[in-house]
């Protein structure tokens, strides 16, 4: 198997407060992993550390991506190397048109891959195709990034970017939260359309229902900064029934 991401004993703190206490996880190309867990357990922290957010300090451990030490790379280098994070709370950027950011991002990433800039026609064709797939109003392309977007529009826009940028490792941080069933299906279709044996997905979610549409290979439970249990898709169903408390207690007991 082709290991895309290998995380060993990862300890992370923010503002002096330890959040992650030794995560071990390997993800192979072609796999879909789901991370579930209660609020505040460190899921977003984990996602953002992978993307290189500076305010999260890695205290211990290592992260290798495609064989390379990820911790020495800036956020933009990680992005250009194929890591994509769909944000839990996408930020607004007034005055910068959505389509312009998309084009700038795509060209930065294509440049890294040694590909020429897409010409305006090809670019537009591709954007429109994906916008249609996400069932988004084309008008949103010409609005400022996320400005005045509804919660659902923001999430679809994240997946639109994902489709355009075609990452090798896509991390979705609660993209399903706040979506109705129809929107959830649209998002899942987008993600599934990219699934192939060169790419991997890490889905952070609270709810089993997303996993009805995007079937994971593995499910992990993050509680109080540790992966306390891993299993197959059936684990998600079990969590849906029993909640997290039985696992949380185990995690708390293990915290020194």
């Amino acid at each position: 198997m082709n290991t895309l991401l290998r995380i060993k004993n990862l300890h992370v703190s923010v503002e002096g407060k330890a959040i992650l206490h030794g995560i071990d996880l390997s993800i192979n190309a072609g796999e879909v992993h789901a991370i579930m867990g209660p609020n505040g357990s460190g899921k977003s922290t984990f996602a953002q550390v992978l993307a290189g957010r500076e305010q999260f300090e890695v205290l211990q451990g290592s992260i290798h991506y495609a064989g390379e030490n990820l911790l020495t790379l800036s956020p933009e280098k990680r992005a250009r190397a194929g890591i994509f994070l769909a944000f839990q709370y996408p930020v607004e950027i007034p005055g910068v048109s959505n389509v312009y950011l998309l084009k700038t991002a795509l060209n930065a990433i294509r440049k890294q891959r040694g590909e020429a800039e897409l010409d305006a026609m090809d670019f537009l064709e591709r954007v429109k195709q994906h916008t249609a797939m996400m069932q988004m109003d084309e008008e949103l392309l010409y609005r400022s990034v996320n400005a005045g977007f509804s919660g659902g529009e923001k999430k679809r826009n994240e997946i639109l970017q994902l489709l355009m940028l075609e990452p090798r490792l896509a991390i979705l941080d609660e993209t399903d939260s706040g979506l109705d069933i129809d929107a959830l299906q649209v998002v899942a279709n987008g993600v599934n359309s990219l699934r192939d044996d060169t790419r991997a997905f890490l889905l952070v979610t609270h709810y089993q229902r997303l996993l009805d549409y995007i079937r994971p290979d593995f499910v992990h439970v993050l509680a109080a900064g540790r992966l306390v249990k891993s299993g197959g898709p059936e684990l998600a169903l079990e969590l849906e029934q029993r909640g997290y408390s039985w696992l949380k207690e185990a995690a708390v007991a293990a915290t020194p």
Binding site: I93, Y100, L101, I109
Partner: protein, 482 residues
């Protein structure tokens, strides 16, 4: 978030690239201001009596004026007797008849600044008047313009060659008693540009003046006068730079625009005077009076400014809308980084019926930069149906900078409609991270965000200058983002 993000700090620390000094012999008067100095300047320029009298009147009035205190900028008192009021590169006498007579060092200076003066290298479609310290050293494309009857020359030359026009319009928009710095300028102004576009003529190229302060301890007091006769059109651009010095230097200019019936004047400024160092030492005090009069029905004046330089920028390009249906516009980007201060805005004075004005102001502050928008919209009794739309946006980079808006509105006609919108936003670490996560460098992310913010104003600039303005902003951002 703070400017602690190292990438942002690096961005904000970009060097001022126009900060070199040209080593050239200059003919200067010793520092100090008196009637004698004014007589000297006037004599040096072989001015007619009316102009000397005009200067002296302004000077005597200026002596009685208090230093204005009302703006929100802060600076130590200026010693007006420590400034030299005239400096001319020695190698040229009154005015070089052709470019061949211009000192090669001066041509080099402008070439380094990206303003080639040799005709074959010039920007196509842009005529340039180059002002070095107190004098105009070269004006390009004069002959081409003359074929259309357009006069584009240094102010001194206009005084010699077209004294009647000068006498008719000088001070007719900004009287010599207007305000402290305008009066000072009226007394001691040395050179500047003069434009006259005859009736019905559409100026076939952009006109531009490039101002350069080189000598130490001098002030630059230029005066620009643009007259657009009935039904004519002209687009004019000025650019400015100065060397890096530890002392502050004063630049107090006056610009007067006169647009007669159906005429249009577009006046654009890209101001990049030396802003001082990152500790707030040195830099230009840019205290400028700019005003246009729409002196006829349907006259149209627009001011577009991109203010990135100067330690202190203090100016309110204004329009007096006298004719019916006259249009006044003000589009501004003002950026302050480090210890720079800007207090800028506009005045739109509606006199005629159905006059319209638009104000779009974008203030960007980074580090400890201070930025104030100050604007007056005044609708007089007779201005039936007057309309104004004002939009003031502020962008903060880092958390130690400040932005303020002071909109003053006086409406004396009940049919007038005046709208004002304002917003303040901050470039956050979240926005930067978001862009970086999409593959953009921090630098590109900041530039993207700032350019997005300024787009509405850049759209108003002639193409070449919009590109220039974007570049300048990019440069000035290096070291500002936080």
């Amino acid at each position: 978030m703070t400017v602690s993000n190292p990438q942002i700090s690096r961005l904000l620390d970009q060097e001022y690239s126009a900060g070199f000094v040209t080593d050239i012999d200059a003919d200067s008067v010793p520092p100090g201001l008196s009637e004698e100095v004014i007589r000297f300047i006037s004599a040096k320029k072989q001015e007619p009596q009316f102009l000397l009298d005009w200067r002296l009147k302004a000077y005597r009035h200026w002596l009685s004026m208090p230093v204005p205190q009302w703006s929100s900028v802060h600076y130590p008192p200026i010693d007006y007797n420590a400034i030299s009021y005239y400096s001319s590169p020695k190698s040229r006498g009154q005015a070089p008849a052709s470019l061949e007579e211009v000192d090669p060092k001066l041509l080099d200076t402008y070439a380094k600044l990206g303003i080639p003066l040799a005709e074959q290298k010039q920007l196509a479609g842009v005529a340039v008047d180059a002002v070095f310290d107190s004098v105009s050293v070269a004006t390009t494309f004069k002959d081409t313009l003359a074929e259309h009857g357009i006069i584009f020359c240094s102010f001194s030359e206009a005084v010699r060659e077209h004294p009647d026009l000068v006498q008719q319009y000088l001070g007719s928009v900004v009287p010599p008693t207007d305000n402290f710095y305008a009066s000072l300028n009226s007394a001691v102004f040395s050179d500047g540009s003069f434009v006259y576009v005859p009736k019905g003529v559409r100026c076939p190229m952009e006109l531009s003046t490039y101002f350069r302060i080189n000598a130490a301890n001098t002030g630059q007091f230029e005066r620009t006068l643009i007259i657009a006769e009935e039904g004519s059109y002209v687009s004019y651009l000025e650019g400015c730079t100065a060397p890096m010095r530890d002392e502050n230097q004063l630049h107090a200019a006056v610009v007067e625009l006169v647009a007669l019936q159906d005429a249009q004047i577009r006046y654009s400024t890209v101001q990049n005077w030396y802003p001082g160092d990152s500790q707030g030492h040195g830099g230009i005090y840019n205290f400028v009076t700019k005003r246009g009069a729409c002196r006829g029905d349907n006259a149209h004046i627009s001011w577009t400014q991109v203010e990135t330089g100067s330690a202190i920028t203090w100016k309110y390009p204004s329009v007096i809308l006298e004719g019916d249906n006259a249009v006044g516009e003000f589009y501004s980007v003002a950026m302050t980084n480090n210890y720079q201060q800007a207090d800028t805005g506009t005045k739109m004075i509606h006199l005629g019926k159905n006059t319209r004005s638009t104000i779009i102001s974008k203030g960007i502050s980074a580090r400890q930069g201070r930025n104030a928008y100050r604007g007056l919209v005044k609708v007089l009794k007779g201005a039936e149906g007057a309309r104004n739309y004002t939009q003031c946006d502020s962008l903060l980079i880092g958390d130690r900078c400040g932005a303020h808006t002071f909109p003053y509105i006086e409406v004396k006609n009940p049919t007038a409609r005046v709208e004002h919108e304002a917003s303040t936003s901050r470039i956050g670490e979240e926005q930067l991270f978001y862009c970086q996560q999409r593959g953009l460098s921090a630098e590109d992310a900041v530039t993207l965000i700032v350019n997005g913010f300024c787009k509405q104003v850049f759209n108003e600039l002639p193409m070449e200058f919009a590109v220039e303005a974007q570049k300048l902003l990019g440069i000035n951002l290096e070291g500002v983002v936080g």
